[in-house]
């Protein structure tokens, strides 16, 4: 390697061609020039192109039709023969009577008896849940799950499939699951007679919704946690390959709805979803995602609108990172699972329970064929219709474009900073050459150094004139932002240990505690402002550097989230990026206030409120005031639930907001407050 000056441009080009972008100074300079000159245009272009492209993916010609990757599934190859011997209607009656008997409890005993009568290995799991945040004043809540194992005839119990359902008492506000119970019993009776099972089938009825399911899974995999003690599971089968959760009310079924979203935005393998859809179609049962059926003419404008709506609904519920059903907890254990929910309708054509049973029979016979765990098909996808999918390869480029809007701005700012610095350097260079100091001998230098250190000390004492620039002006702000994140993360536990003495509800404590912390965050720019010589406090720092770093950090956060939960990343990116890109301190008051208002609209607290408002809008409400009140209540409730999920299920949602979203937002909030 030899350094040399090159005078012949032709020769330079020749060499450059081999050197690539990173070491080719000329091309690099060109790119840098383009970025620094047109960064605003480029950002806007990238953002608009990205969002349009992403939304356009819902249009049928732009996405792909689902297909089976896993050949072993052989969906629908066999004739489904489930015609129940049991009188289903009578069973529905009987179960409802049992529910009537004990209104506040679920009929576990009855379920266990039924399982035993059918000849399953029946066990009852006793577990206790200690709610965090003093929700139950330190008392643990007991619960029981009932499960029966049908041992496979053709294999030793090394693998199993789960058919599960939540037990719900009469007074529960959730729709009843009588249909699930009846179907489960009828199917268990039918499955037992068949010789072809190669995997154990576990029939599982869980209590306390997702808590019960988590307790069972913890127990099955022998995981103990601080809050859930699953007790001993007396009976076990092999490793669980797949699970199907049933939420079927009673016999007035209109169509079936598939719920896929799991904890932390994990989705089941697309093959499993395909399998359910395919078997429903085979039995002529209408199937939907998020209650949206497929549109008959998907290539029309209305068809596009319909798929877009489906996609948005899917992404909205995906973004929350909360499981939509009990199936969502299986994903964490590398078990593919979906929930089938029955949508009821009083009038019109009904699907019989037997037909639903045949769908489930088909699914289980396919799962029975599996040779290895689901691994072939996609795990990262978005569904705009039941039979169409947008894979990670399709949605990442537009998402990357949206993020590129922020990155381009960051690079442009970085270039601006580095040119500014090099200008400063050249200034100082010219100064030194003017003074014509000859520094040859070491002794001379040493003396000068002594002088220099003196001046250095003086510099430190002198008021910070140069404190406009440099990393040191920005570091404290970044540190404070993250510190606030840490406070928010540990806050709820702290305030709830104090709350019992104040006689305030847990929801209120958590909400107002966080609100107080958030107000402290809002005041952060004021508190860190330094007093300069003039009497008023002024906040001065290198805002360009902070903005550049903030934008890079933001892109990093968004990409990291996108790897796990593209929907959340998409919604965050779409709303945050335009505002953060335009944020800059300015002297004009109107602009400054507009920016502040825009940023306030995007702050995590308002984000959560808007999110809960949109979710409330899907339900019933009277008038806008009622809507606001209801969404406020929902927000408080949701906040506690999110924190609860963190402790009980290991949800990351709260952590992501505390350590990623809030600090980024705070950085930009301080940028607006920077005094020029």
């Amino acid at each position: 390697m030899v350094c040399k000056t090159c005078e012949n441009p032709a020769k330079t080009n020749k060499i450059n061609r081999n050197m690539g972008l990173l070491s080719d100074p000329k091309k690099r300079q060109k790119i840098l020039d383009v970025i620094s000159k047109y960064n605003n245009h480029l950002s806007v272009l990238c953002y608009i192109a990205g969002v349009t492209w992403f939304l356009a993916l819902a249009y049928q010609p732009l996405n792909a039709r689902t297909y089976f990757s896993e050949n072993a599934l052989l969906p629908g190859l066999v004739e489904n023969e489930f015609y129940p011997e049991l009188d289903m209607e009578a069973l529905v009656q009987e179960y409802n009577e049992q529910l009537q008997k004990e209104k506040k409890n679920v009929p576990r005993k009855w379920v266990a008896d039924q399982f035993t009568a059918l000849g399953l290995d029946t066990y009852i799991q006793n577990y206790t849940i200690l709610y965090p945040l003093q929700l139950t004043r330190g008392q643990s809540v007991p619960g029981q799950n009932v499960y029966g194992i049908l041992r496979a005839r053709r294999a030793s119990s090394t693998e199993s499939i789960v058919l599960s359902m939540p037990l719900r008492q009469k007074e529960s506000d959730m729709p009843s699951t009588t249909g699930s119970m009846v179907l489960m019993l009828a199917l268990a009776k039918y499955f037992r007679q068949k010789p072809y099972w190669a995997k154990d089938i576990i029939f599982l009825a869980t209590d306390h919704e997702q808590f019960g399911m988590q307790a069972w899974l913890n127990g099955y995999h022998e995981i103990s946690s601080e809050y859930i003690s699953p007790g001993d599971l007396m009976g076990r089968s092999g490793s669980i390959q797949a699970a199907l959760n049933l939420e079927i009310p009673d016999s007035n079924l209109k169509h079936l709805d598939i719920k896929i979203q799991g904890l932390n935005g994990q989705l089941p393998n697309l093959d499993l979803v395909n399998l359910v859809v395919r078997l429903c179609q085979r039995e002529r049962v209408e199937v939907s995602i998020h209650k949206q059926k497929d549109y008959y003419d998907a290539e029309s404008v209305d068809g596009y609108k319909h798929s877009l709506k489906t996609m948005m609904k899917m992404m909205w519920s995906h973004a929350s990172g909360i499981p939509t059903g009990n199936h969502g907890l299986f994903h964490r254990y590398h078990i593919e699972a979906v929930t089938i929910e029955g949508i009821t309708k009083r009038k019109g054509h009904h699907i019989s329970l037997a037909k639903t049973g045949r769908v489930i029979e088909g699914i289980f016979r396919s799962l029975n064929n599996l040779l290895e765990r689901f691994h072939q098909s996609f795990f990262f996808y978005i569904l705009p219709a039941t039979e169409r999918y947008i894979s990670i390869g399709l949605y990442m480029p537009p998402f990357g474009l949206i993020c590129a809007a922020g990155l381009i701005k960051a690079v442009a700012l970085w270039i601006a900073i580095s040119t500014r610095n090099s200008d400063d350097n050249s200034d100082s260079e010219s100064k030194t050459s003017d003074s014509k100091e000859e520094k040859e001998s070491e002794a001379k230098k040493e003396k000068e150094d002594a002088k220099q250190t003196d001046t250095d000390n003086e510099d430190e004492d002198a008021p910070e004139e140069a404190s406009r620039e440099g990393v040191s002006t920005v570091l404290p702000l970044i540190l404070f932002s993250f510190l606030m994140g840490v406070f928010c993360f540990t806050g709820p536990e702290f305030v709830t240990t104090m709350s019992p003495s104040f006689r305030i509800g847990v929801e209120d404590t958590v909400f107002f505690g966080l609100l107080a912390l958030f107000s402290a965050c809002l005041l952060l720019p004021r508190t860190v402002a330094k007093k300069s010589q003039s009497t008023d406090k002024r906040l001065i720092f290198d805002w360009e550097l902070l903005k550049s770093l903030g934008l890079i950090f933001q892109s990093l956060v968004l990409f990291s989230i996108a790897l796990m939960n593209i929907s959340l990343a998409f919604f965050l990116a779409v709303f945050i990026i335009p505002v953060t890109v335009i944020t800059h301190p300015c002297k004009n008051r109107i602009f400054r206030w507009m920016q502040k208002i825009l940023l306030l609209l995007l702050c995590p607290a308002v984000q959560i409120f808007i999110a809960s408002m949109i979710s409330t809008m899907e339900g019933k409400y009277k008038g806008s005031w009622d809507l606001i009140q209801k969404s406020f209540e929902n927000m408080k409730h949701g906040l506690v639930l999110t924190i609860l999920d963190r402790y009980l299920f290991g949800s990351w949602m709260y952590g992501v907001f505390c350590f990623a979203v809030l600090p980024t937002w705070l950085m930009f909030w301080t940028i607006v407050h920077c005094d020029l």
Partner: protein, 447 residues
């Protein structure tokens, strides 16, 4: 620059390590493949100690790969309570820090001496490039910051990675070399080589360095006049290499005496060289060899292992006048290409990086490299989680990040190399020749 920031950074580094030991972070970090490799994992070390207590040779199985001397040191450490062990690890890090500060000081002195020697051949207009004492004091500060607040070093400390012994001995090499303490320097080269084989290449820069210093002491000649190939020089090289090899042999022999058998050779050095454990890590070996047909395995192992050390030859020809820099580059290359790299090595490499701060302004890719480092460091654990725990991603995702991480490191090293040479070039030729007649700047290219 006053000493308060230095003390503040040191203390905050120690406090951060101690405080993070109280959280649940160490449990998680010690499971991360980037931090604890089969060679440096604390759990495996415990396994080895447990086996030894039951009078079973820890090398009989396939779990333990530390050298016998480290086994004894670890055995001594584990005789204390858990909290004391944590304190010991923080103490070892503090020792590293002290060594680094000393190295920074010594290196500053060395630089000034070297500069005084060479100043005659510098161009007249390159005043701004001349290093002054206060620059050196800043170097010291940056070294402290780069080590005590370095996330990679902190992670390695939290995971109780046993790579800290290797790092210490490499730091001792730098320290004794700059102190011109020949025999101790050789001893620690031998020690490092004993611990992880690859640092044996470091005897090349050491040989050059001590040859230079002995010649300089005798004849007072400057670098340019110095011959690197005359017979005294060759004799000096042979002496260094010979001494290092003898010391390594002595250490291995001593270990065999302690162990009572030679079985440890295959499960320590054999393990490093043959790469039987293909657990994912930040390196390039595992992915390649999982895909490899058994038939070609031996050949490609040779290729990959030669790749680690082959750069020693061209680099020592090119950088013969700068043996300390050569040594740093070699340490970094070993850290990138070794068979089981970990964050501990990265931490060492990045902490010593500020020593070359005076060349930083010539670096061209620092922004890109910094972004790559940050991104790959964040994406690594996420993709590992998605692959291993969630089962939704696969090995390719993780390998992509580890490859990007290695690329970032290579970019950093090549960029540093370029910057260093470019600065030397400017020192010799000055700035004037860079400006064309019409006033525009000429481009300098690397050929």
């Amino acid at each position: 620059m006053s000493s308060y920031p230095l003390i503040f950074c040191t203390v905050s580094g120690i406090i951060i390590r101690l405080a993070l030991f109280r959280t649940s972070l160490p449990d998680w970090i010690s499971l991360q493949p980037e931090v604890s490799t089969p060679l440096t994992s604390w759990e495996r070390a415990m396994e080895g100690i447990a086996l030894k207590e039951y009078m079973i040779s820890p090398y009989a199985g396939d779990l333990f790969h530390e050298t016998p001397l480290v086994l004894r040191i670890l055995g001594f450490m584990t005789s204390f309570s858990d909290n004391t062990i944590l304190l010991m690890f923080v103490g070892l890090d503090a020792l590293c820090l002290i060594l680094m500060v000393k190295i920074a000081n010594l290196y500053g002195g060395y630089l000034l001496k070297k500069q005084a020697k060479e100043v005659k051949r510098y161009a007249t207009d390159c005043d701004t490039l001349i290093i002054k004492t206060e620059d050196l004091r800043i170097i010291q500060f940056y070294v402290i910051v780069a080590f005590s607040l370095n996330p990679y070093s902190i992670a390695a400390c939290l995971a109780k990675s046993t790579a800290v012994f290797n790092n210490l001995s490499i730091l001792f090499i730098f320290y004794f070399m700059l102190k011109e303490n020949e025999y101790l320097c050789y001893l620690f080269i031998a020690m490092s080589a004993y611990l992880s084989i690859y640092p044996i290449t470091l005897c090349v820069p050491a040989a050059i360095f001590f040859m230079q210093s002995s010649k300089f002491r005798k004849n007072k000649i400057s670098d340019t006049e110095m011959s690197y190939t005359d017979s005294p020089a060759l004799f000096s090289y042979c002496r260094t290499v010979g001494l290092c090899v003898v010391m390594v042999a002595a250490l291995i022999g001593f270990s065999a005496f302690l162990e009572g058998s030679w079985s440890f050779i295959s499960s320590t050095y054999g393990f490093i060289l043959m790469v039987p454990d293909l657990t994912p890590n930040m390196g390039v070996f595992w992915y390649f060899f999982t895909e490899m047909f058994e038939h070609f395995r031996m050949f490609f192992i040779c290729v990959f292992q030669i790749n680690v050390v082959i750069y020693t030859v061209p680099l020592s020809v090119k950088l013969k006048e700068h043996p300390v820099f050569l040594m740093y580059i070699l340490v970094s290359l070993i850290c990138i290409f070794k068979s089981y790299p970990s964050y501990s090595d990265v931490g060492l490499m990045l902490s010593l990086l500020p020593l070359w701060r005076y060349a930083f302004e010539y670096m061209r890719n620092s922004f890109v490299v910094a972004c790559m480092y940050i991104c790959t460091t964040v994406f690594g654990p996420i993709l590992y989680h998605l692959w291993i725990y969630a089962g939704s991603a696969n090995a390719n995702f993780y390998f992509a990040t580890s490859l990007a991480f290695s690329t970032a490191q290579i970019f950093l090293i090549t960029d540093l190399l370029y910057a260093y040479l470019r600065r030397e070039f400017d020192l010799e030729n000055g700035f004037k020749h860079l400006i064309r007649e019409d006033g525009t700047k000429k481009q300098v290219i690397l050929d």
